[in-house]
Symmetry: C2
Subunit: 378 residues, 2 copies
């Protein structure tokens, strides 16, 4: 089996991740819920993971790293906790439903006003549109780092600079890039960085979180027990407790911690170069195949994703053939990115997404190219 | 080490749980995010876990079982998704902050009106108080199944019957009893059952969920990608997608599934009897020790929890001694149950909670009794 659906979840994880989760399940108590050895081990595991994630993403304080079940929960937490009626928010056509649906809901129920930076047929935006859409009541910009459909990058450093210059919050969805691209939220001027643990970071499912910049105040989303200030009727407003409630997934976080160690030891630069090489080889290979339509911009740096369609096949049909005849796992259909599909003109047939990762090999890429060619020539 | 903090999290899990999580991490793709073998395996794992949980708790439909990170998220989802301004809700002094804080927030921000069935010095309530507090605008009753502090049970079947007779919703927090007590939400007339996976169910951390009865409509709490209806601006309103967003923790759910199998094979009746025997032995042993104050009612069926204080020691001090001198892990202090502490008069010193589980032995109980005696006699 050739697994090329790493943008949905990385299937293979470093062996140290499996070992860490197993060890955690055998030894950890409940973090922040006691002073005995097992509870303290859990608390230490969680805190060390906060420290590693903070260092990894350039977050100034470990206590400003908060853990959630996934990036969607991190984005819900950030977006519902930051905006108030009358706020204006600028976002883009590249966004995933995990950004769009909270914003639409804020617009519908809270009177938050939205504007979208449009994408062209290549899935690119024009950075000048942020300036064009700016209003006096603009509070924030929310963007993904890379399109989960095309792999096109946004220039998040430039957007961060623009946000800084105009006194705006900048919330970044790094679901598709965390672990594959160096990120430094202080240098790049992000107010909030949302990430998932189970994609490029190569950690377990059930992990993710948000890193919050200095002075950025997010109201609690979930409320409940935190192990501190039990007698207050309101949830604590101090990070990290403010944005966490109930028992944390310390078992999963132990795995995420090991995954970050693996990436640091391997070198994120090397990971990025290797994943880029896989993606370029695949793109080059399928570009010469007649009948293949590729989406997105391949002129610069990008995430290791190639979305395409083959002849007039429905994308789901193509994915089925890849799975059944070639044992190649990809994702087809709509990719929870409706505005992007509209921009690309793939609203009705969707697209076949090949997403590559650290544990893929050049041989697998060549086999995937051959498979695409074989389907196209049939 | 003797681990007696099972009400915070069960430390030891069945071996099959470790194996299932490991296998899941090695083989599963992203549930509901593709049609290739690995994505389908993940979807199958999640669906089978829904089916097992539905059967386990007497939920009529597997699709009405929704998974969350923990019971707190399940409770937030249920409570914020059910109530509207003007609704009146009856709850009790036994509740954990995971119930109290969402309700206080609804009261503060949404005008939901709350009444509390008071607890006496033994931590008991009078069921007649539900009738006394009933108003024409009463929409729901929210209660725990057992106090996480004293282990006292509520008669949830009687409350369920009362709710049914008066056309009220009944939301039950089974955090402390799921896996240790037979529960049948249809027979017992619960509208919503919230549970956590990592306590009595003996599954991994990062798992939990809610089971929703027929005709009970909960608005989405988190919104985002679900793998279906990508083009809608609103989150799907059909269960289970309505109350789930983003990637599920299929790795953890595989472990939860194995844990439910273990409980079914062992027999929940046998588990309940054994945990009760541990608790009765411990209670009997420490009851004769001079200087020990025990909280709660031991006259009937109850959760395997014994809360106490020793002489005039602060509860944290006692727990420290138990940990350091006897290698016994318990929890002290406030237990996220502020109203219960007030009822018991333990607001300032807290209480030392011994919570027992399936993997404890009678020898461990005897050692714990000896330790309590030794501290009391010092």
């Amino acid at each position: 089996m050739i697994y090329l659906d790493n943008a949905a979840t990385t299937l293979k994880k470093p062996d140290s991740v499996y070992a860490a989760v197993l060890e955690a399940m055998r030894t950890l108590g409940n973090s922040a819920r006691g002073v005995h050895a097992q509870a303290l081990s859990a608390a230490r595991t969680v805190y060390e993971t906060r420290e590693k994630i903070a260092a990894f993403f350039g977050c100034a304080e470990a206590s400003h790293v908060m853990f959630t079940q996934n990036a969607t929960q991190a984005l819900n937490t950030a977006l519902f906790g930051l905006f108030l009626p009358g706020d204006h928010v600028i976002t883009t056509d590249l966004e995933h439903n995990s950004v769009l649906r909270p914003l639409y809901r804020l617009s519908r129920e809270q009177g938050v006003r939205l504007d979208f930076v449009p994408a062209d047929r290549n899935g690119n935006i024009d950075d000048a549109d942020f300036e064009r859409l700016l209003r006096p009541e603009t509070k924030a910009i929310v963007t993904t780092h890379a399109s989960n459909l095309t792999g096109n990058l946004l220039d998040i450093s430039a957007v961060g600079k623009f946000a800084l210059d105009h006194g705006l919050l900048y919330i970044v969805d790094a679901s598709q890039t965390a672990g594959s691209f160096p990120i430094d939220m202080q240098k790049q001027n992000f107010s909030v960085l949302c990430f998932t643990g189970h994609k490029g970071l190569m950690g377990p499912q059930g992990t993710g979180g948000l890193c919050v910049g200095e002075g950025v105040k997010i109201r609690p989303f979930m409320v409940g027990g935190t192990g501190v200030h039990s007698y207050s009727e309101t949830h604590p407003d101090k990070y990290p407790e403010a944005l966490e409630a109930g028992t944390l997934n310390a078992h999963g976080l132990a795995g995420l911690s090991a995954a970050v160690d693996f990436i640091n030891e391997t070198g994120i630069g090397d990971i990025h170069r290797y994943e880029t090489a896989l993606m370029r080889r695949f793109h080059k290979g399928i570009s010469s195949v007649s009948g293949v339509t590729v989406y997105g911009d391949f002129s610069g740096d990008r995430a290791p994703i190639v979305a395409l369609n083959i002849n007039d096949l429905d994308s789901s049909e193509a994915a089925d053939i890849l799975s059944q005849d070639f044992d190649i796992a990809v994702r087809a259909g709509a990719h929870c990115a409706p505005r992007m599909h509209r921009a690309l003109g793939t609203e009705s047939r969707g697209a076949v997404r090949f997403s590559l990762g650290w544990f893929n090999t050049m041989e697998e890429i060549d086999a995937a190219i051959d498979a695409v060619r074989s389907i196209a020539e049939k």
